[in-house]
């Protein structure tokens, strides 16, 4: 762990060096009226004025649909082609928010809970995260309430804190980070002693996580779920933009004698998610599915995996077509 300073032109040089190294670089880009992570080649493509990207970096690290294996039957014999971790390209994520970077911990906790997930780990291994601490937030942000902060370095390989001169404080947090620095070592100079905290947005804590946890412990049969979820349409928007949601579906893409097995994103909010073949559905109503979503993130995960399933990025609130504001709902549970 080392802290350095980089000038505005230094950032530009370094960025070019990363791109020329052949790694894929994803950064927030403003297009189609939305800011989202996209492959970029130039620093000028990177978006400036925005609070949050629509989708989390999950969308850049994990494909929405991914081939687990493929097969072909030739003369009665099956040839199987398994997932190849080496096929995953080296990827650098530029300008990640701390709340996004923090999402890798809960994701890893889920994917490696009982068995280790080859695909997840391959993607993670090939990904380097350069986060930027936050100097702005909006009414949906609440990282400080879920053990995070605008300058949280968890999950980051390097964190930059932008300074008024256009330069930045560089925190080098991991060997992967060091490797990135090594691509253009000359632009990193000695730390000027600026305090990082001075440049972070002030985001008050909105609820007490332990209090919420304690309330949720007794809330399974509460009427709050029905009340809160009435307007929920049961779409999967919240889950798909969430940095920690990990539900997936397994599908077969079979064509005659060949085919492949595909893992694709799913959402616990879908009615079909828990539908049994018999027709029985243990989570038949939207209120039950809403309860699952909240309990899973704020109760089951802390209890079983020792990690909160929410990083406070606020994307679900922003994406929801009917304003299912998670902060508002959690706050109201905490106050009950």
């Amino acid at each position: 762990m080392e802290t350095k300073y980089i000038s505005q032109s230094g950032i530009e040089q370094w960025f070019d060096a990363i791109v020329t190294s052949g790694k894929r670089v994803f950064a927030p880009v403003n297009s189609r009226g939305q800011v989202d992570f996209k492959p970029v080649k130039k620093l000028s493509e990177v978006a400036d004025e925005y609070i949050q990207t629509t989708q989390s970096i999950k969308a850049s690290v994990y494909p929405k649909a991914e081939v687990l294996f493929s097969y072909e039957k030739v003369n009665g014999k099956v040839n199987l082609t398994d997932f190849d971790p080496e096929s995953v390209p080296e990827t650098v994520l530029w300008k990640v928010h701390p709340c996004d970077a923090a999402g890798f911990k809960p994701l890893s906790a889920i994917f490696n809970w009982d068995t280790t997930d080859k695909l997840h780990n391959a993607h993670l291994a090939k990904t380097s995260v350069i986060s930027f601490s936050c100097s702005a937030a909006d009414e949906s942000c609440f990282c400080t309430s879920v053990n995070g902060s605008p300058g949280n370095t968890a999950g980051s390989d390097i964190q930059l804190t932008m300074l008024p001169d256009g330069g930045a404080i560089v925190e080098i947090l991991s060997p992967k980070g060091e490797a990135l620095v090594a691509l253009s070592p000359s632009v990193f100079v000695a730390d000027k002693g600026e305090k990082k905290e001075k440049y972070l947005v002030d985001l008050p804590v909105r609820f007490n996580l332990e209090e919420v946890n304690a309330k949720l412990n007794k809330a399974f049969n509460s009427t709050v779920w029905k009340e809160q979820s009435e307007r929920c349409l049961g779409c999967g928007a919240c889950a798909f933009v969430c940095p920690t949601c990990a539900c997936f579906d397994i599908q077969e893409d079979a064509h005659g004698s060949k085919g492949r097995r595909i893992r694709c994103w799913d959402a616990c909010g879908f009615a079909l998610f828990t539908l049994h073949t018999s027709g029985h559905n243990p989570r038949e109503h939207q209120s039950q599915r809403w309860r699952q979503r909240i309990l899973h993130k704020f109760f089951y995960m802390p209890e079983r995996l020792s990690v909160v399933g929410c990083t406070g990025c606020g994307r679900c609130s922003r994406a929801c077509p009917v304003d299912m504001n998670i902060l508002e709902h959690i706050t109201s549970i905490a106050k009950q």
Partner: protein, 666 residues
């Protein structure tokens, strides 16, 4: 894993000449789920069918694909064979290797590969087939016969004599049709009316026949065994229950100059009329188009003369509904008028007649009481020319077919003329003489040899009038192509027989197919000549194609037998190709959400509403349900259903999807 048996037919050499059938069997044999695949010279033969039956038992097949001819030909054959071997017949499908492959392609690699694809497609389909049970529907044992000519009369009498009820509908005020207009009939020269009228009377008096004259079919709904016919009874303006048929009104009717339809325009009739003296029923109707009262609001002379007060001025058309189990179409034909022929004067020469008009001239009941006289001046023609194939066999005129009856009746006409005008001279221009039929050739020879009719093989280019004569310019192709010019007194055109007017509309009402000339189409040109493509609707007589009286009567009796056979069962077994709305376990019960858009899409009103209720009797959901009796299996609802809640047995989503995918997946 499925156990499909595949049987590839050589069809003699019809398939094997262009398709490598052994390779087809070999490659299909290697397919997933195919337990047995062979090829054989004639799969439809007894030994061929035995192969299938034995294989079903030996390999425990749960599906059979026969790669042979069109399923439209032999599907029932092979399904029956499967059923006899204990396999549900609907687990048998046919790949069309003959009509769709071997006959339409040259021998090549591609042709064999296409054949393999076609079989593969059906193998994949059959894997998704489900055993189905035939559907049983009750049969209404009453027949509807449309058309009261000799075909309709014969069919009605034959059906009625088997003890079943018949509704006979005739468009004109009397039954009898064209046959009643004929003078004598070939090849015996017996009087047409003499042999027909007893039949007409029999129809009128038969307890099993209900006769509606001056009536037309309005609509037909339903299906075999269960039709609902709406019949329009046109207002006759005469109350038949009180009318005595005395004819006084006809005598007094002041409108006397209406061209008589019965006399093919050569005579006249009144506005209140009976078409001909022997009409059945022999009671008049008022022709409202020509009646003074209906035209101008005054007259009513007939009402004054009617002693029993039978005239009903305000009578309106009435529409009645009859439930019937079968329909016989016997709507007959029409002949082209002389105005169809510009080269013969556009119909403006009074002495150029159609064959039908000549029949009326020759008929004892005709306008000249059987004397051959010119319509223009009443003179007896001394020279007469008959032109055969007027319109027929002439693609330029849009009638490439042979009208079949003209050769014979032209010979008859010439003969009748010679018998009536002893010093007359008759000439027949012909293309060929087609006299196939019992005693037909002899009849023509008699005309030529005994009655000295002058037969000239050649066509007539033009007929024109000069100095009161009709100049016929033709050619004699047998004598060196000499041009022939005859100054005739009368010319008779054997004009083409064509479909009756309105036949196209009628076919559409009944959903039967018709050929390009609007004649109704039989289900199979050889093996199903009296059936139509619509089950329960049969054909009799010239509505299918021009034909003579013996043939018409034979066909009518054939249709009657088909009806009688249908009526011999109380229930009818139908193919289970019908739509079904899914029913599932609770809590869904069905994926149908009851938008009932299928209801508007269904051409047969087969969609019903069903309330699905819980144990406590509370309504869970409204769902659609298909009435299997009404459903005809078109599947329009299936393609329309957004949630895929309806499927059609025999062509399920899974089946057709598997077929398409098999063609594309390598």
């Amino acid at each position: 894993m499925s156990k499909i048996g595949v049987f590839i037919c050589h069809c003699g050499e019809n398939i094997s000449a262009t398709v490598d059938v052994e390779r087809v069997a070999r490659e299909i044999g290697g397919m997933e789920g195919v337990a047995h695949a062979i090829d054989y010279k004639y799969m439809c033969s007894d030994p061929g069918q035995t192969f299938i039956k034995e294989a079903v038992k030996k390999y425990g097949l749960d599906g059979v694909v026969v790669g042979a001819c069109s399923p439209r030909m032999h599907e029932p054959t092979f399904r029956r064979a499967c059923a006899e071997a204990g396999l549900n017949p609907y687990l048998c499908e046919m790949a069309n290797l003959r009509e769709h492959c071997s006959w339409v392609h040259e021998k090549s690699e591609e042709t064999t590969e296409k054949a393999i694809d076609l079989v593969k497609m059906l193998v994949e389909k059959v894997k998704k087939n489900k055993p189905l049970d035939s559907i049983k529907v009750p049969v209404t044992k009453k027949a509807l016969v449309i058309g009261g000519g000799i075909a309709g009369i014969q069919a009605s009498l034959d059906i009625a004599n088997t003890g079943h009820k018949v509704i006979l509908v005739e468009r004109d005020p009397s039954i009898g049709g064209h046959m009643s207009q004929l003078s004598e009939t070939f090849p015996t020269l017996d009087c047409s009316q003499c042999i027909l009228t007893p039949r007409m009377v029999e129809v009128a008096q038969h307890p099993n026949i209900k006769l509606y004259t001056y009536a037309e079919l309005e609509s037909l709904e339903g299906f075999i065994g269960n039709f609902k016919a709406k019949i329009r009874l046109k207002a006759k303006s005469v109350n038949y229950s009180t009318c005595t048929g005395c004819g006084a009104c006809i005598q007094k009717c002041p409108v006397k100059k209406i061209p008589s339809e019965f006399n093919a325009g050569l005579g006249t009739r009144t506005a209140i009329y009976v078409p001909f003296p022997q009409a059945v029923p022999n009671k008049p109707v008022i022709d409202r188009v020509n009646c003074n009262y209906y035209k101008r609001g005054a007259c009513k002379i007939c009402e004054k003369t009617c002693q029993v007060g039978s005239i009903e001025w305000d009578k309106e058309d009435e529409i009645i509904t009859e439930e019937v189990g079968a329909v016989v179409l016997a709507t007959g034909f029409d002949v082209k008028g002389t105005d169809f022929f510009p080269e013969y004067g556009y119909g403006q020469y009074k002495d150029v007649l159609t064959g039908l008009q000549f029949e009326r001239l020759a008929s004892a009941s005709g306008p000249t009481f059987g004397e051959i006289r010119r319509p223009s001046d009443g003179a007896v023609p001394k020279k007469i020319v008959f032109i055969a194939c007027a319109g027929s066999r002439d693609p330029a005129k849009g009638i490439p077919y042979c009208s079949k009856i003209c050769c014979m009746y032209t010979a008859k006409h010439a003969m009748l003329y010679q018998h009536k005008v002893h010093d007359g001279e008759s000439t027949v221009f012909y293309m060929d003489i087609r006299a196939g039929g019992k005693n037909y050739e002899e009849f023509v020879r008699r005309a030529i040899e005994e009655d000295t009719v002058n037969y000239v093989r050649g066509r007539v280019a033009r007929v024109y009038e000069k100095n009161g004569k009709l100049i016929v310019k033709g050619v004699d192709t047998l004598l060196g192509g000499e041009q022939v010019e005859i100054e005739a007194d009368m010319v008779v055109l054997a004009t083409a027989g064509v479909a009756n007017c309105g036949s196209e509309q009628l076919a559409q009402k009944l959903h039967v197919s018709y050929d390009p000339y609007h004649f109704f189409a039989e289900a199979h040109p050889k093996l199903k000549p009296v059936e139509t493509n619509t089950a329960g609707i049969y054909l009799a007589g010239a509505c299918q194609a021009p034909k003579d009286i013996p043939e018409t009567v034979g066909m009518a009796s054939g249709a009657a037998v088909k009806v009688a056979a249908l009526f011999s069962n109380d229930e009818l077994v139908r193919e289970p190709v019908v739509a079904v709305v899914n029913r599932l376990a609770p809590p869904l019960y069905s994926t149908c959400v009851g938008c009932f858009m299928c209801e508007t899409a269904c051409p047969y009103n087969a969609i019903e509403h069903e309330e699905i209720k819980g144990r406590d009797g509370s309504l869970i959901r409204n769902s659609a349900r298909v009435n299997q009796g009404l459903c005809q299996g078109c599947g329009t609802c299936v393609a329309f259903c957004r949630s895929k809640s309806i499927d059609i047995q025999g062509y399920t989503n899974e089946q057709v999807y598997a077929e398409v995918m098999s063609l594309l997946n390598d």
